[in-house]
């Protein structure tokens, strides 16, 4: 509980209406999109400017109150759950597009701008901001930067980190730093811009960002390829890349996902196939057409049982429906849907999918896998029920093994969702004890009193690495 005096000070900074400590507000800001995570803050503040953010930060620093910064609360790692109470700072009022610079091809935005609004604003000018996380219709750019969000276009265009050129951020001591700029080259000192991208609100509060834009591709086409065998699908992916084609999208659905999607949407997907690849290319029309032909030939060579190339927008829409409905279809099966993002080098997709299937069967769970085949970023999705404690325990064990399997294959515990609370116990598996120490040192340098988003990234205790005998 914060004293009335502190709440009154916060009110004075952000205004009566934008500082709330009534029950309703505390409950509404106690969760994000992560299943089974919830903690009440003591107060919710909604600043409208960098200056207000600074004043709130200074006050929090003076009284040693934790601050959890929040955009739309659409993350899947528990990144904005106020586990230590304190202040939840929602930046949704800082939602202005400051400038689109068509000379330098940049956009300058406040953190509360929705990702989809950035897409629309720049595409109206023939420009393109590629990162497209699944939650982009609600997510804010501040959240995307804090979690270094990915999306469907990661293979060809990279992720959020590849588009952040400069940042304005408020440090825990209340000072403002500006990193980078409208610069493609800048080696003046440590790259603080990249350091803040993906820092999950633990180092500083991002209050403005300069993002890189590229010309918008003129043409887009998509196709589906279906396989009786996962290996053949995986080999198609490797062959496409080996043939020096980088598709704009390269997604896949496993058999479990296909069955659930077909059951839900009735779009005529064959439920006996082991995998479906959804492949898209964008760019200049001639190149796109040529690539689509070559990709079809590669899929054919790898024994695709069926190939469907979309020739019209309606057909493209139909083709995309399968992938777009995956999460919806899976989440209708059971009350709780746990969506993970274990990631492996793309050549290891087939063994990783097999490992997930084996683990799922062994623990008697429903885990279906879909995801970004092109960049090895998989979404093993468990359909379960948070109220069934026995099952949830098995889910946790299964995911632990899935993380371990990913690391064994040269992968990582999280490709695009972030560490937050839920993967903090496993971070050491990926970065090692020495890596943990470096990260903790960085944290201390920025935030010596551990006020920013405490309880995230660094767990009190790391999990012991599971060793599974996979003969």
């Amino acid at each position: 509980m914060l004293s009335d005096a502190i709440v009154a000070e916060l009110r004075a900074i952000v205004g009566e209406k934008h500082c709330m400590d009534r029950q309703e507000a505390l409950v509404a800001y106690s969760y994000d999109a992560t299943p089974m995570q919830q903690a009440l803050p003591d107060v919710v503040v909604m600043p409208a400017s960098t200056a207000e953010v600074q004043k709130v930060m200074q006050l929090a620093s003076r009284h040693q109150i934790p601050i959890v910064t929040r955009g739309a609360g659409s993350n899947l790692c528990g990144g904005t759950i106020p586990v230590g109470g304190g202040i939840v700072m929602s930046l949704h009022r800082m939602n202005q597009i400051v400038e689109i610079d068509e000379q330098n091809l940049t956009i300058t935005v406040q953190p509360g701008v929705r990702t989809v609004d950035i897409h629309q604003a720049v595409e109206a000018k023939g420009l393109f901001y590629p990162p497209d996380p699944g939650s982009m219709v609600i997510s804010t750019i501040g959240g995307n930067i804090a979690l270094n969000s990915g999306g469907l276009r990661g293979l060809k265009y990279g992720t959020t980190k590849d588009y952040v050129l400069g940042l304005e951020a408020v440090l825990p001591n209340g000072e403002v730093i500006r990193t980078g700029g409208k610069l493609m080259k800048d080696v003046a000192g440590y790259d603080l811009t990249k350091l803040l991208v993906g820092s999950e609100g633990t180092l500083a509060i991002i209050t403005e960002a300069i993002l890189k834009l590229i010309p918008k591709p003129t043409t887009q086409r998509v196709m589906l390829a279906m396989y009786a065998d996962m290996e053949q699908a995986a080999r198609s992916v490797s062959d496409i890349i080996a043939n020096r084609i980088i598709p704009g999208t390269l997604e896949f659905l496993d058999q479990g996902t296909i069955r659930v999607v077909e059951d839900f949407k009735k779009i005529g997907l064959p439920t006996d196939v082991a995998a479906i690849l959804l492949i898209g290319q964008d760019g200049e029309a001639e190149i796109v057409d040529r690539d689509m032909e070559r990709i079809s030939a590669i899929c054919q060579k790898n024994q695709a049982v069926q190939i469907k190339v979309a020739n019209t927008d309606e057909e493209a829409d139909e083709v995309m429906t399968a992938r777009r409905s995956a999460l919806a279809a899976l989440s209708r099966m059971r009350p709780t849907t746990i969506l993970e993002d274990a990631t492996v080098p793309r050549a290891q997709i087939a063994p990783m999918v097999a490992a997930i299937q084996e683990i799922s069967d062994r623990f008697g769970l429903d885990i279906c896998t879909f995801g970004h085949a092109g960049d090895g970023n998989l979404h093993p999705t468990c359909m379960t029920d948070a109220r069934n404690h026995d099952e949830i325990e098995r889910v946790e064990q299964a995911f632990e093994e899935i993380f371990a399997a990913a690391i064994d294959l040269g992968g990582t515990i999280t490709g695009e969702h972030g560490v937050g609370i839920v993967k903090a116990p496993y971070l050491e598996w990926k970065v090692g004890a020495a890596g943990m120490e470096v990260m903790k040192g960085i944290k201390r340098a920025f935030d010596p009193h551990n006020l920013l988003n405490p309880g995230k990234m660094f767990a009190k205790e790391s999990r012991n690495r599971v060793v599974v005998n996979r003969a």
């Binding site: 009534r22 029950q23 309703e24 507000a25 505390l26 409950v27 509404a28 800001y29 106690s30 969760y31 994000d32 999109a33 992560t34 299943p35 009440l40 909604m46 739309a72 609360g73 659409s74 929602s90 949704h92 009022r93 939602n95 929705r114 989809v116 939650s135 219709v137 609600i138 999460l327 919806a328 989440s331 209708r332 009350p335 709780t336 849907t337 029920d385 948070a386 109220r387």
Partner: protein, 434 residues
Amino acid sequence: MLKEALQNKLDYEELANCMRCGFCQPACPTFRETGYEAASPRGRIALMKAVTDGVMEPDQDFVDQMNLCLGCRACEPVCPAGVPYGQLIEQTREAIEQVQEHPWYVRLVRKTAFTHLFPHQRRLNRLGGLLGFYQRSGLQTAVRKLGMMKILPKQLQEMEAIMPDASAKSLTDRLGATVIPAVGERKRRVGMFHGCIMDVLFQETNVNTVRLLAESGCEVVIATGQVCCGALHAHSGERETAKSLARQNIAAFQKAEVDLIISNAGGCGALLQEYDHLLHDDPEWQEQAKWFAGRVKDISEVLAMSVQPEAWNALPQRVTYQSSCHLRNGMKVTKEPVNLLQAIPGATYVPLKEGDRCCGSAGIYNLVQPEMSGSLLDEKMGHVASTQADILVTSNPGCLLQMKAGIKRAGLEDRMEAVHLVDLLARVQKKEAN
């Protein structure tokens, strides 16, 4: 105690099905207006769940937040998990209503409206007669001249100003028959659901509906014994009354032995289509309720089955369409009204930006939440003005009144009119087709 009432009423399974992804938020008018998490479907469900779980006490803030919801259900089609938010908010309101201590005058108004008025079509028509007398006797002019309307809240003044002429006759009296034969070959036998308010304030639309149905090959039965659909009751927490109305309607239409039941009001149609859910805990009525729910169609669905543009006069005007939320999100009818408008010879159909977003009418919301409703309406009229349409089409009486009020409020009366889809189609239908 509200907490216990909520624990009893709320479907916990469905609360648990919300996975908090937040995909509902861009669709929610009150969230977009406020940016406040609690004022979104995800937020409201979290509040309902917190109360049921005992994490929070249902205080006045809770009640206010539930009342701020328009009930437009725009969150439902975009929900990946398929959470029936509309049912959850109705269950919540029913619980609130159960324990709410209203001041005596609110109790009186609610009792009068919900128990003594809406369920009784004859009384409504009689009231319509009084309203008609008020409008036509010169009393309305006198009242307006004397400035007596000024004592009413602004929203009520705006509504009084655009109130259509009321009818004292019932639809059957007006048509002089309960069965209207199909013109030409009889394709099907349909029951006309005439609604309560619809039949008093928009009886012309009902007459036109019957005519268009007959001309499209339907034998139309005005099933006797039908009553108000119960939507206003269900939305306001009077679920038991809604159930009893549902039973009366089911009986009336079963007796009429119809293939389809036709509604021309999205707000009514959506509830009619959910009678099976409304009566799900009434085993005696389950089968009949399913029979009924499965037969309900919006008028636009039937007319779109057999569009005959050659039977229509040209209409050299720009038309745009504001969807009824419950027609779109409840009945899932989206294309048919637009297809019909696009088929009118000579007319230019201009899509309305955010025409799928609530206009702020939402039953009696515009009267009880004037501030939010007004700001939604102003935004709406901005988009409407930029279509430069001559005719703004909608398909539900509440929306139609709100659009009429909006046009007046935005000073657009000289440039455009708001019309029910059915009335527009009746206007272009060639007379010789009769």
